[in-house]
């Protein structure tokens, strides 16, 4: 007998949606373990608007979106352990956690949903030469200091990387009275949403320098200047193109990495591409009964998609809990692999069992470059079952296709599902 039918690790948007869904019909006990003192995760510091257009059909700020979901979860009867750090998840779904209030605890779950979110790539991962002074922050750290603490980490700012948080922070720093000299992006395209480039850079005359990187940080104690250079097609700085920017702050928005330390300790198989768990149509990981959703699974662009995905994971976790209660056999035959080709970097899920999939299953993916005028095509075996034209596809925006269960059930011999891009 487990302590809870479903344990959700992480109380951000993914965890809240998964827990709410799991608890919806009131039959199953659901616990969310959250390391912060507040629910909502990173949404709490995202005070800009643009959240919830799909989920709530209105434009909300991050904290508003979080508050809505917190209420839904509380009303549904989800239980919470806040200010509690999960240290370990065992393959047998025992969660080890520690908190000021309760000390060390073991809590067992029927199902476990991993919803730990992601973290930012730090400066060190880029190996930017120079000193290591104060004044180098990830965009998210700066966002917390400004939006939660009301403190300015700097006045004269250069931003490296055009991920969404970096773009958002370019605008935020400007609105709070700082000057943002430029956003340098190593790739020839931005890693963020088009709407953020327009609303956060263009509207404030902040230049976006594509194919540029920071080659040096000056200042022993506090940042005094950074050097920005153009890069060649292999990303190497081009000699003679360096420009020195006097500044006191370097913000980094150079990528997000799913936070899978717990998944790893549980023994969950991880994808080398997404760096998140490999999952099947039920968003179940390689360990039966452990599910994953949100940014821990793959980094999303919009919170609304996180919510959709987490809802599916929550429902799958309840099905698992129900089966456990009935002592039903878990059918663990391997699903049909989903193969990403032709510019599609990955798909989530990575395999599908047609019998277990819902009537309509959303496959999400990202592309590995900028593609104009293409078709997203899905093949079941050799047969193309879906083709939709897209005028432009960019790495910063997530794409999706919907598979119909009937299409798969009608083709029992199919041994792979291929998602690919073709000429329009």
């Amino acid at each position: 007998m487990s302590d809870y039918d479903v344990i959700v690790i992480g109380g951000g948007p993914a965890g809240l949606a998964a827990a709410t869904t799991a608890r919806e019909d009131g039959r199953r006990s659901v616990l969310v373990v959250e390391r912060d003192q507040k629910l909502g995760g990173i949404l709490n510091q995202c005070i800009h608007n643009g959240f919830g257009l799909i989920t709530f059909n209105e434009e909300l700020t991050g904290p508003e979106y979080a508050a809505r979901y917190e209420k839904l979860a509380r009303d549904a009867g989800v239980e919470f352990l806040l200010d509690t750090m999960v240290l370990d998840v065992s393959p047998g779904r025992v969660v080890t956690c520690v908190s000021e209030a309760h000390g060390m605890q073991h809590i067992s779950g029927g199902a476990v949903v991993l919803a730990m979110g992601c973290r930012e790539r730090p400066r060190g991962a880029l190996n930017i030469p120079g000193f290591r002074p104060a004044g180098v922050y990830t965009a998210g750290t700066a966002q917390r200091l400004v939006n939660i603490e009301g403190l300015m980490p700097g006045r004269e700012v250069v931003i490296l990387g055009s991920g969404d948080i970096g773009l958002i922070m370019a605008r935020r720093m400007t609105l709070e009275g700082a000057h943002v000299a430029c956003v340098a992006e190593l790739m020839p395209y931005s890693g963020g949403l088009k709407r953020n480039i327009v609303q956060c850079l263009d509207d404030f005359d902040i230049p976006l320098l594509l194919s540029h990187t920071v080659t040096r940080v000056e200042g022993k104690r506090r940042v005094e200047a950074v050097w920005v250079a153009q890069v060649d097609e292999k990303g190497r700085p081009i000699a003679g193109t360096e420009k020195r920017y006097l500044c006191d702050t370097l913000l980094l928005s150079v990528g997000l990495l799913p936070e899978n330390e717990l998944s790893r300790s549980a023994g969950v198989e991880l994808s080398r591409v997404t760096r998140g768990p490999v999952v099947n149509e039920s968003l179940e990981t390689s360990i039966p009964g452990i599910f994953a959703c949100g940014n821990v699974l793959h980094v999303h662009d919009l919170v609304d998609y996180v919510t959709q995905e987490a809802t599916a994971a929550g429902a799958a976790a309840v099905r698992w809990a129900d089966a456990c209660a009935k002592h039903a056999e878990h059918d663990e035959k391997p699903g049909i692999p989903v193969v990403a080709e032709g510019g599609v970097r990955y798909t989530v899920p990575q395999s599908i069992d047609p019998e277990r999939m819902p009537e309509k299953l959303t496959l999400r993916f990202r592309v590995g470059g900028v593609f104009e005028d293409k078709r997203i095509c899905v093949y079941l075996g050799d047969e193309r079952v879906l083709s939709k034209r897209r005028p432009i596809l960019v790495p910063g925006e997530m794409e999706e296709v919907t598979l119909k269960r009937d299409d798969l059930l009608a083709r029992p011999a199919v041994d792979k599902v291929v998602v690919t891009l073709e000429e329009a």
Partner: protein, 494 residues
């Protein structure tokens, strides 16, 4: 020891590992001791940025001070670690030879090691090497195996020495660079710092890369210390078991090579370069240096997962042309004792250096050992959650619930540890100070998540620190430049 007219019997310049080891040894005597440090904390110069290796002692020339103190320091390190509760691991080192033509070099090194008094050295063949280190380069033909070599927590060692010295009455003054030294007519010295003037009978110069400036203020002979920069890359703990021992390259036609080693914190370290530079503050890394490290680590070890790099850093070795420690009272300046040019293997040698320097000072001043029982010999360290079982961690939480509040999620550092680090003798006053004492911020997020939380702890626990003036590493490295919108408000008022 009381002597009217002087504030201290001994002033030690520099709170690095040599200075603090000397301070702790002198704390066993009746002498009064003050340590002056230009930075805001102990362990801010050469002691903090190095390979963190406990060398066996086969490198230095037989008969040199370096060789003697290395072997002595190595032998003392483990007992010291037990007494002062810092971490040392005896993982052993391998000097790997990658060419048949250079095998003689291995035997030379072996012979020198034996002559230096290094125990248990052994030249091992290719197969033995491969069984010990599966990721060793296929071109490796053999290695020198030194089981007495190991790795140490350099911050832990330095902090432990300082804390224990302070517990035993040594005074530490930070943010106090020595600007001038005056030799007093009645003997002894007066030292000018921004924090005031100090007088003492004896000066110990443990000023690292600045030891030449200090030396040259009072001595007739002139010393020149060249900052020899070493650049390193540190890889995530996921790469920490890529090798199991400290792996050096035998110097060959391919160059000197770099070491590849696990660290005490479970990471993998690769480096260093060796570049003589002018700037004593030149702890920056360069693109050329980092790519040199990336290239050279492949000489001995294959497939070093460089995409797991979490940070890179530089350290400066206090090098002089003679490549030998300079320890002793200067003939032209009675009572001025050099503890200078302490480059590698200075960290390993530090327990022996401390004894030697303290011995010299004791003789000069005629100090006496304190009565038995007066000297507190041991020090309790800050607990490391990662070393504890479920039950042990739980017990700590019962004693102090703040052990249950995890602040650094990557390295599992709790609020209790951070508060402890701040309130200890010679406590942390900056983010880097907390980092060096607790291991917080050292993980894969590199302080992204915990910076604001540690800033909060520092501003809450220290009366003179607020969120606005918390520093990364002392004055001038403040994190915060003001309040949101204050520049706009100022503009509107103008």
């Amino acid at each position: 020891m009381q002597d009217s007219g002087f504030q201290y019997d001994v002033v030690i310049i520099g709170a690095g590992v040599s200075g603090c080891a000397t301070a702790r040894e002198l704390a066993k005597t009746n002498g009064s001791v003050c340590v002056l440090e230009r930075e805001d904390d102990v362990c801010c110069g050469t002691s903090k940025a190095n390979s963190a290796i406990v060398h066996a002692g086969y490198d230095a020339m037989t008969g040199s001070l370096m060789a003697r103190l290395n072997v002595e320091g190595n032998a003392l390190m483990h007992e010291l670690a037990k007494k002062l509760n810092f971490t040392v691991k005896n993982i052993g080192s391998l000097v790997v030879c990658t060419s048949e033509r250079d095998v003689d070099g291995l035997h030379e090194l072996f012979a020198r090691g034996v002559a230096n008094g290094v125990p248990d050295l052994q030249v091992i063949d290719r197969d033995t090497l491969r069984s010990m280190e599966p990721n060793i380069s296929p071109s490796a033909v053999g290695a020198l195996w030194a089981p007495t070599a190991g790795i140490v927590d350099p911050f832990g060692l330095n902090v432990a020495l300082a804390e224990n010295a302070a517990t035993n009455g040594v005074r530490f003054v930070f943010d106090a660079p020595v600007m001038a030294i005056e030799r007093l007519p009645q003997g002894g010295y007066a030292l000018d710092t921004p924090r005031g003037r100090l007088t003492c009978r004896c000066v110990v110069n443990a000023a690292g890369v600045y030891a030449d400036q200090i030396h040259n203020m009072v001595c007739e002979d002139k010393l020149k210390i060249v900052p020899r920069r070493g650049q390193y890359m540190l890889l995530d703990t996921t790469a920490g078991s890529h090798v199991h021992h400290v792996v050096f390259a035998l110097p060959s036609k391919m160059g000197k090579g770099v070491l590849v080693s696990p660290t005490i914190h479970g990471n993998l370290i690769v480096g260093p370069t060796a570049e003589d530079i002018r700037d004593k503050e030149g702890t920056d890394t360069t693109a050329a240096g980092l790519s040199e490290v990336a290239e050279k680590c492949g000489i001995t070890v294959v497939d070093v997962p460089l995409r797991e790099v979490i940070t890179s850093f530089s350290g400066l070795r206090a090098h002089r042309a003679e490549h030998e420690f300079l320890i002793g009272e200067n003939p032209s300046a009675p009572g001025f004792v050099d503890c200078s040019a302490i480059e590698s293997p200075g960290l390993t040698a530090s327990p022996a250096i401390g004894r030697m320097v303290a011995g010299i000072v004791t003789d000069i001043l005629g100090l006496e050992e304190r009565p038995a029982g007066e000297f507190v010999e041991t020090r309790e360290g800050i607990p490391n959650m990662n070393d504890l079982s479920f039950e042990q961690w739980g017990k700590l939480c019962e004693k102090n619930p703040l052990y249950g509040r995890v602040i650094c999620r990557c390295c599992h550092v709790s609020e209790a540890q951070i508060v402890d680090a701040i309130h200890r003798p010679v406590g942390a006053r900056s983010l880097d100070g907390v980092k060096r004492r607790t291991g917080a911020c050292m993980g894969r997020c590199q302080a992204g998540f915990c910076t604001p939380k540690i800033m909060e702890a520092l501003s809450r626990e220290l009366p003179d620190v607020s969120m606005e003036n918390v520093t990364k590493s002392g004055p001038g490295s403040e994190f915060i430049e003001g309040h949101a919108k204050d520049a706009i408000v100022e503009e509107a008022h103008a």
